[in-house]
Amino acid sequence: MPGLPLPDPRWADVPLALASLGLALWLTLTRRDRAAVIGFTGYGLLVGLVWVRLGSVDVALTEAALGGGLMGLLLLIAVRRLGDGTALSPPPALLTRLLVGLLCLAVTLGLAAVVLGLPSPAPSLVEAVAQHQALTELGNPVAAVLIAFRAVDTLLESVVLALAVIVLWSFGADRAWGLRPRALDIGPPSSALLLLGRLLPPVGLIVGVHLFWTGADHPGGPFQGGAVLAAMAALVWLTRLGEPPPVDDWLTRLGIVVGPLLFLVIGLSGVVVADAFLGYPEAFTKPLILLIETAKTLSIAVALALLVAGPPELPGSMSTGQPATTESRVTG
């Protein structure tokens, strides 16, 4: 059965590409911000499907969780607070539009020419990865690249995530420091939302952990699992079943940095124990990787959820009702 040549999915390629392009064009040109953001969530879903067709389910998972889910929530809440299309600048002159359009067309054509004219025996690192993959005892080549072969990138990336939370928090007003983020606190939830907030997070918790765990051998991993967990935390905060922790909560701060920190410590000790920075001693490779990945999942989940929740704010600053006083923190 799997030996058949599969011509059929290709029928979807051109429609998928056209739909992505059309949607992108529409959301660039449409008048209302909110309509554009709704279009953008649909675009995120589409691109997730495109990544499946490009053979990388790992990226598709990340794109679906971030682009389709969390990004939509973030942007729609932004639209709600910024107002829908009230700050539109006047439309640019026709000549300007024409010139810029031509410029963009030139960029596109140049890039397309490059893409179509790529060298024919494509350079590939598949074999190089496959050769050394056994050392990591991981079945998923992408995970092997992330955690071992290009570990520096991954380390820096998780540091960037922690830094992003710090930058975000620093946007809060001075008086609000030490308080909770309130971007997701949008008033009492409707009964349907409440039902969703009660039933979905347990399922999402299982899915997130499953994604993380299966990531060793199948598509999935800390980023994908962490994104799902963060989405569930955001849902809980949205329904007021829990509140985001205050920004001076040391446990939260520990959660943000434990991933990069552990990664860094193990990486540094690799200088002594193994023979390089971020090298793993051969006997302990798998357990060490598992340890790092667990911490990383936790940190990514906490950081992403806090990024959606926004900077700390004073209670009354958002014209919501009274702040809920439910249990103070939610693990996510």
């Binding site: 059309g22 008048r31 409707s190 349907a192 039902l195 979905l200």
Partner: protein, 120 residues
């Protein structure tokens, strides 16, 4: 084996039909609430039929469980979001925001690109 395959074919076809019907409904129904009705058919019936059809093909313990869990999640989300959307539509019934009420009828395919941007 062939019985299972026939089962799959029947149910998956029905599911695809439900998606098609739902699409037609989304396109042709007059107002937002009846379109919501059409959408919920895709959520529950279409996906449900596809899942039922795929059950004989799934690996026994975990594949089947995953499929069933997926359908349950989808029904839960579909139901809850449908309720919320209906609430919003209902609350805004008089002034559903943005576009002019360009009661779109036929020939939608060609006009799709231009339509939202006319009359600025």
């Amino acid at each position: 084996m062939s019985l299972a395959n026939a089962f799959t074919m029947v149910f998956v076809s029905l599911g695809a039909l439900a998606f098609f019907a739902s699409w037609v409904g989304l396109l042709r129904f007059p107002d937002a609430l009846s379109r919501l009705h059409a959408l919920s058919k895709a959520d529950n019936l279409g996906l449900g039929l596809v899942v039922v059809g795929l059950l004989p093909q799934a690996s026994w313990p975990f594949g089947v469980l995953k499929l069933v869990a997926l359908w349950l999640v989808s029904v839960l989300i579909g139901g809850a979001t449908g309720q919320m959307l209906a609430g919003v539509i209902h609350a805004n019934a008089g002034q559903i925001s943005d576009d002019r009420e360009t009661r779109p009828d036929t020939g939608a395919k060609s006009a799709a690109r231009a339509n939202p941007e006319t009359a600025s």
